[in-house]
């Protein structure tokens, strides 16, 4: 984005006729808080929406600039019901929406109200959206002793197809060190917070690009690819194997890596690097291992608890900007905690989606649920859209192979760690197949040796 555009507020007008609902709604008050303290940008948007039209409105649109729409990991909306003391939140249905005449390739999400908004009525919405890969390191390459500075680009005003009467935006930075920020009057900074606004009465599609340049040394742990395999064994356990390809997504490391500085001047040396990671695993987890292509990695520590287990581990080496590490985490959990029988006789697995590592972005997550051999009619139920596929996998003593339900999703953040279900039918008699095979194999061996001892193959009688 060119710097000369910084201070110009660009208002984009378009023919309002195409948006029947757009002209009927207006936003009385918008407050946006953007949390920039980690590399996952969380924005909390509070909107007070009023219907100024004549017909009831069933839904409203949220607009995002094209630079953000591709990094948008998740949008959630809640309707605030009740008064201050007895506030309760009602989750609303949000889905991506295509608008034919979107200005400058803006992207949209359609929020459906719980009950249609009557003329003159107002509703308060809490919107949470999460952006990944939105902090751009600058300078792009740093040495071991430098700390990491990043750019965050956004608009000082909320991009919206509706008129906004009043709005403010807050940026929260991880430290007080802010190199610069675009000034769109009124804008000021206090401590870790930069405040833009309040701005009065902005027309639809108002846009005021701003850039915040600040220090962010939080671990930029990006999992480029994660393959989780959940293998169901009806003999009593779930075996989970997770293949990680982790990278440091921040400013690239340049020049030397000095061990003596890294170990003796830890506070100023390699401040943007990280070497400790935390994975939140299910409770009652057992047989945990942590290894990579060339063997076991001994730097890990497991704490088991009633609600969750925590695996603290370190890659073989600290990760500096651009450095990569691949590893495998595997564990086993008891079957009865996760496998249930549905009322219609089918079985279903209820497990957590997403990545167990805290505060990490997963660029590509593939989740494979390996069903037992002989199971049929698999179907997956998820609260959000994923690519689904079926595969066949051969494991120990398999003849026809196991059905694998493959769920694939890009741009996954910790907020995606929600339960999902995989339904399938399975006859318990298949459980006996493998033991019977082993028994018959041994039986065959013994019978053959018995026969061999008793059969005389000599042509000439001795």
């Amino acid at each position: 984005m060119a710097a000369r555009n910084w201070i110009f507020a660009v208002a984009v007008f378009l023919s309002l006729s195409t948006f029947s609902s757009a002209q009927d709604l207006q936003i009385v008050n918008a407050e946006r808080r953007i949390d920039l303290s980690s590399h996952i940008v969380k924005a909390f948007l509070t909107l007070k929406v009023e219907n100024i039209g004549k017909d009831p409105a069933a839904d409203m649109l949220l607009a995002f600039p094209p630079t953000q729409i591709k990094n948008l990991a998740m949008v959630q909306a809640l309707a605030v019901m009740g008064k201050k003391k007895k506030k309760n939140y009602l989750p609303l249905d949000v889905k991506p929406s295509e608008q034919p005449d979107a200005p400058n390739d803006a992207g949209y999400f359609l929020v459906s109200f719980a009950t249609p908004l009557g003329p003159g009525e107002t509703v308060t919405l809490e919107v949470l959206y999460i952006l990944t890969h939105s902090l751009e390191p600058f300078p792009v390459e740093i040495t071991q002793s430098e700390s990491q500075l990043v750019y965050y680009r956004d608009s000082a005003v909320v991009l919206s197809p509706y008129r906004i009467k009043q709005q403010t935006t807050f940026f929260k930075t991880p430290s007080t060190r802010v190199e610069s920020f675009t000034s769109v009057e009124p804008a000021n900074r206090a401590g870790k917070e930069i405040k833009y606004g309040a701005y009065e009465d902005r027309v639809p599609y108002s846009y005021a690009p701003v850039i915040v340049h600040f220090e962010n040394n939080s671990p930029f742990a990006v999992v480029e690819e994660l393959v989780r395999e959940i293998e169901i064994s009806h003999w009593g356990s779930l075996q989970i194997t997770e293949n990680y390809r982790l990278t440091h997504g921040g400013a690239r490391h340049k020049g030397v890596f000095s061990r003596v500085e890294y170990q003796s001047r830890r506070s100023i040396s390699g401040s943007s690097s990280f070497n400790a990671l935390l994975a939140v695993l299910p409770p009652r987890v057992n047989s945990v291992y942590y290894r990579d292509d060339i063997g076991n990695i001994s730097t890990s520590h497991l704490r088991t608890g009633f609600k969750k287990s925590e695996l603290e581990f370190e890659p073989r080496y600290p990760l500096f900007g651009g450095w990569k590490a691949t590893f495998i985490i595997g564990y086993r959990v008891p079957l009865e905690d996760y496998l249930f029988e549905a009322p219609d006789g089918r079985r279903y697995l209820n497990f957590t989606f997403g990545c167990p590592l805290v505060e990490t972005i997963v660029n590509k997550l593939t989740l494979k649920v390996v069903l037992p051999e002989g199971s049929k009619d698999p179907s997956a139920v998820l609260p959000f859209a994923v690519n689904q596929d079926l595969q066949v996998k051969y494991s120990y003593l398999d003849i026809v192979g196991r059905t694998v339900v493959v769920l694939q999703k890009d741009n996954v953040v910790p907020t995606h760690n929600v339960p999902f279900q995989v339904y399938y039918t399975f006859k318990p008699i298949y459980m006996l197949a493998e033991p019977l095979m082993l028994v018959s194999a041994f039986f065959f061996v013994f019978v053959t040796s018995l026969a061999y001892v008793h059969i005389d193959l000599n042509i000439v009688k001795k």
């Binding site: 063997g295 073989r316 590490a325």
Partner: protein, 725 residues
Amino acid sequence: MAAKKASPDLLNSSFSFKSLKLKTKQQELLLRVSILGLVYVLAFIARLFSVLRYESMIHEFDPYFNYRTTLFLTEKGFYEFWNWFDSESWYPLGRIIGGTLYPGLMVTAALIYWTLRFLRFFVHIREVCVLTAPFFASNTTLVAYFFGKEIWDTGAGLVAAALIAICPGYISRSVAGSYDNEAVAIFALLLTFYLFVKAVKTGSLSWALGSAFGYFYMVSAWGGYVFIINLVPLYVLVLLITGRYSMRLYVAYNCMYILGMLLAMQIRFVGFQHVQSGEHMAAMGVFLLMQVFYFLDWVKHQLNDTKLFQTFLRITVTSAILVGGIALGVGTASGYISPWTGRFYSLLDPTYAKDHIPIIASVSEHQPTAWSSFMFDYHILLFLFPAGLYFCFKRLSDATIFIVMYGLTSLYFAGVMVRLILVATPAVCLISAIAVSATVKNLTSLLRTKQKVPQTGSTKGVGSSKSSSKVTLDQSQPFHKNGAIALLVGVFYLLSRYAIHCTWVTSEAYSSPSIVLAARGAHGNRIIFDDYREAYYWLRQNTPTDAKVMSWWDYGYQITAMGNRTVIVDNNTWNNTHIATVGRAMSSYEDEAYDIMRSLDVNYVLVVFGGVTGYSSDDINKFLWMVRIGGGVYPVIKEPDYLVNGEFRVDKGASPKMLNCLMYKLCYYRFGELVTEYGKPTGYDRARGVEIGNKDIKLEHLEEAYTTSNWIVRVYRVKPPTNML
């Protein structure tokens, strides 16, 4: 351990199992099979210490190459493997893998892997490789049993199986993870010998054929096959000289030699060496001699005149020797028959390598064996061995002559080189087993005759003819029985000490993977130094895929296997000049070394440094070998330049060349700022116990790229040349 009770159990079995409806023969079979089964399992599990202590991983250096090639074989198939040109090693020369390795081990592991997969056991190839050595050790115990049975009796066979199952001399090279050629080669060696002895004993073509195939397997697995191709002719020669020539021997040797030779030629690495190399000429000579013998025999049969035959004999023998001698002379002179290699010389003359081939002498396992390591590896077998020889000589046969010759020659080689203890181990175990078995048998038969005489008149069981003679003895010596009991107890005590010693040695000395180092902390807790893998994995993940890494050759295989990067030299030390170039770079000043590194396209330099942890087998301690090997090819490098009064030191008193050579700089770069031990000055080298002499090291053409958490491996990046503009 089970087999130690074998012999008495065998003898007592007729009493204890009387209630069961089994015939004596069946009881004996059951016992034998179950003891063998137990020994088989024992041999396997005794080798799993390393897996329990550490993890299922490949050990040491060479096994990593074998693992890498096996991986390639299972992924790409046999033909790709056979034609593999590996550009990742010996840059820029590369290496033709298919033509420069013994494929037996890899093919064996791949076959096991494919079989398991066919049987629907989806194991990882690494697990197969890790467990190949224990599996073949178990198989070796079976062969040892049959061999023992062949040369003495079943009792000796069982004892031999038990002894070899836990003998440290063999375990040292066959623990889980030591995926090296020797793992299958000892099995192949013993199998070949067993089948050959069997062939000589029976004169059967099928056994001879079996031994030819055993030989083929051995040739495909290990360079030690040269031992077979020299020992067998030697044995045949001894039999000829001692007048034990027979048709059985003729059939066995000719079949084994001809077929074995033809089969061995199929291995590309061996090729036509059987007819072209001096090391294989003994077998050829004996083969021709054999024909002369047969011919003479036939002529003797045809001629009835002794006088005429004597003349004929003289003429034939002289002309045969003459023709053979001329052929050998012409062959050697024309270069058709290659002379003996340095390795072969160094076996015959232990001092040869030290003077002529520093690269062989630099390897610790090529050093002459110390007495202590004999004791360590053989324990009581060392005393049982002469006793066994005594028994063998007492009952001399074709088979016992073979085992005696095998024992004596291999023991000599074991004295020359530490690693050849391995070859001697089966012979030592077999001969010791004869001693144990014969002693125990004699003693128990003494005991049993005493018990039996008053009880029943009819004596049945083992050695009834002997017992009658012993009865008279017993009457004359009243303390005989007590003496026998005392001796038996003594034997069992010794054997149990052996078992304890073997277990201890296995768990303490031979089960360390050497890639992961373990130490005891101040509070008795175990500290793991996993620096090697840390560095290799760093190289694998964070350097360009075409980066070339220069290091001393010891780490070459590991870098290619674990780091997946191209190396300049590796553990296959086929090109001495190339290694010398690396040695020269390491021992030159930085700017001289930079030119060498530029000419070799080196991007990274890896050194191993133990100064922080006190790890003594690091590059500084290996440095003199680099100087020697480098100096052997490039006379610019002179060993005295690095020594002070013939002493190798790194502190202030070190020679200036030493303090400024590349290796010193790379190892000690910024080490002078570090306090390694409480109460010592900065830059205190814990591996050598001195404060280093050059604390202010500046690097001009290299920069530190990575140093592992305990400083054991340090990686430097070679900077591109500075821009002239």
